[in-house]
Symmetry: C3
Subunit: 346 residues, 3 copies
């Protein structure tokens, strides 16, 4: 993908603290690509030896490789950690927006809102009373921050996000468009024969370095708090119900749903579309496969899959039976028929 | 959760029409909490005897209890119905916004739109021609109301909601952020070898006292109406397709999807993530478990679960087999092998 | 559904190039309905002979029928293709908005954005630098177009849509409210023991004549592009991850999720709520049933269903076993018990 900035190969090598390949230092590079997509003006990368052939035939100007990558190609840039070097290069070509102190004329900012240094407030943003925003944070167009919301430093809130009252967001949090944080939890009680809404007057707390995808929903707690732990990453359209507690360093893939008051430990991975029942506990380091339905507690470190979810080994056995059912069932049926015929004869 | 208002214990007792406990009447209360979370300046509550110990050790200033709750604690406030009293107290500490007559300067309101008394229109709201809004309704920032939409009295529409043309919404309806009502139903027909879009020119009708969660989608009908019955409650990210009819008093948990023209009766409960096929009927009072796939009609009062959904008793049997498959299958396999060996010998 | 315009029956017949029925030419028609819903001032339609009775008893003023529809009713309007004629009539009563050159005073349009002829820009729209918009395109209120986005001719982008930088959208594309295009793909790598976000600097390309439902999310690619092929139609709340390639003429029903780098061929149908694993290939013309979990490649033309998905015939057999498990299992258990008793006796 072509960038709007360019660098010489020598610039890239300097940034990576590696030697400049002979005769290529002055070459102008326009962006980063894959072995397949990179043009002669782009840098590509390769990690695995099995892509040796693709590396050789790539049109890329230069190619990041592991130190011990086989073959001799003057375009190779051997580095200690390809992915880390790639991050450095991508960030040079595609820097995140620089902090800037700016409030668009169409934004509505309450008089008592406190904005730190270099806060960007885009067009149409609404910031209600009592809101506090830390330094270097970016609030993009159309986003709503309800009363007494607190947002830390160096956050980046995308367009058309809705963050409702009393939400607390840490530092370096990234929230993608369309996400809703702090809507009412879903609880009704039958009181004297009538279903009554139970007011949801708790809040949502998002810890440092969390990333939340597009069109997610994270509901406020009944009385206390719904919490997402530090460094946890959430893909798009994830639903987190009221009073849920998610530990640090978790990965939640798209379309996951977690019902009320469930506790998810640290370092848990939950595959896309999986659903977790309310009031259960998922232990640290557990791995839940995509599209699984979790109907009870999951032990620390457990790996579960299925609807309802069971451990991966049991599931593998069942899955073999299920996939081969067309062969197995006629055999079982023959046996059953003969057994029952003999029995009725007795 | 600390509130911005305070009451004396005597005020709370007066609101509940109960006697003031000796010596506590002047104590200042700052909010409501759980037995676990409440501080010495908050009121807590307990319903079940099994939490007797937690009640005794709670730091709460006062505690709502059932009349016959065991133990003698001067902080206990015995009431006829704990949940009902709790609702009263929570509402004192966290009142819903008072109706106010207000149109923000950045809102775009069509000249012929009719706004009732005490209608609140937030920043950036767009109200198109022919829209009617009843008294005491609140339309929050960034929300869009398309042509000829009608919204009843005492509704509360959250920020960044999109309600498209001709939608009809009753009284006391609550809609959470990011929800889209009245987008086109999804229908294409192969006409002369080409897939053609079938225009969706019906509308959506939401009856009184409905609550709709965040990021839901309710599509307009082809020619007639998509309808959500009175007092039905919908959690987040629920999808309702065109021409669906949902009865009154239903509960739809998060991420439910209902396909086109399906009819759901009264008082139906649908668990999170369940999917209903198009053109089927779900009878009154049916209960559909979370993550189930409904592929045919469901009888009134039926309880179904699974993918595809079957009645709960059959499912429980299958589920036992599935969960114990790792033990059962080796035994079945031994029997099958011996049967087939004997047979081939004959 | 009553329209705001009216036509005489003679006008409708002229538009369809069919003879005017005796004595009905001057009748005023107010809209289109079904056999059941149409009033005496509306036109209805019937395609199938089995609805002959409903047609006879319909209150409709006139009724579109196939040429050879049985019965003689002066209200019948026989046509070659009922659905095609119906499209013509619906479009007369409910025309799409006419292109108009308009930029609302509350929109924020970058100076260097290029707007074609007759582009409509609604209230609160944000158009960033370098954006190009083709002629006759409509951008509705609250929608955000990020830097260097390109949108073709005759597109219709609904309210509160977010389209992020560098997205490329073809001609005649329709996007419904709340949809987010171009948010970051979801990828983290463990580098030196720390989970690092991999910047997503590719883009999204939407080809001509695509329709995208409400509250969908289509993520930008890592380095290259996420692509949705021409004429593909997407229902609400569909999630498309980074680097996914979707062919032309596909149908994706609501709540489908497709994980990263998966390739979907042409003319593929994916039922509601189905989930596709990352890095797999679905062949042209494949059909995936609703709520299925696709864990591997799907062959061209294959029909698959289930969790995990298998071919429809195998699934039908398993499904019969599963649905009748309550009858089958006790018989299997008796046989197994007897077998094991005899065995232990040996």
């Amino acid at each position: 993908m072509k960038s709007s900035v360019t660098f010489k190969v020598a610039d890239l090598c300097a940034a990576l603290s590696i030697p400049v390949p002979d005769g290529l230092g002055e070459k102008i590079i326009h962006g980063v690509g894959t072995l397949e997509s990179a043009t002669g003006e782009e840098v590509a990368f390769v990690s695995k030896v099995k892509y040796q052939k693709e590396a050789a035939s790539s049109a890329a100007a230069v190619i990041l490789t592991p130190i011990d990558f086989p073959g001799t190609d003057e375009r190779f840039l051997p580095v200690n950690n390809v992915m880390e070097s790639l991050l450095t290069i991508i960030t040079m070509f595609h820097p995140t927006p620089k902090p800037e102190s700016f409030v668009h004329s169409t934004a509505s900012v309450a008089e008592d809102a406190e904005l730190g240094e270099n806060v960007f407030v885009g067009p149409g943003v609404v910031i209600e009373g009592g809101v506090r925003i830390g330094a270097n944070t970016r609030i993009e167009s159309g986003t709503f921050l309800g009363e007494d919301t607190s947002i830390g430093e160096s956050c980046w809130i995308s367009p058309n996000v809705t963050i409702l009252e009393k939400t607390v967001i840490g530092n370096r949090v990234r929230i993608h468009p369309g996400t809703v944080i702090g809507a009412d939890g879903f609880r009704y009680e039958l009181i004297s024969g009538r279903l009554r809404k139970i007011p949801q007057v708790g809040n949502v707390v998002i810890e440092d370095d969390v990333e939340i995808g597009a069109n997610c929903t994270i509901d406020r707690a009944f009385l206390e708090e719904t919490r997402v732990g530090a460094r946890t990453k959430m893909d798009n359209s994830v639903h987190i119900a009221h009073n849920v507690q998610i530990g640090s360093d978790c990965i939640l893939v798209a379309q996951v749903g977690i019902a009320g008051s469930t506790k998810v430990g640290r370092g848990v991975m939950i595959g896309g579309g999986a659903g977790l029942k309310d009031h259960i506990t998922v232990g640290d380091g557990a791995r839940i496969a995509g599209r699984s339905a979790i109907q009870g507690n999951v032990a620390p470190g457990a790996q579960v899959v299925g609807t309802p979810a069971i451990d991966v080994k049991s599931y593998a056995r069942f899955s073999t039976f299920y996939r081969n059912f067309g062969d197995i069932w006629p055999r079982l049926r023959v046996m059953l028929a003969e057994f029952e015929k003999n029995r009725s004869r007795d």
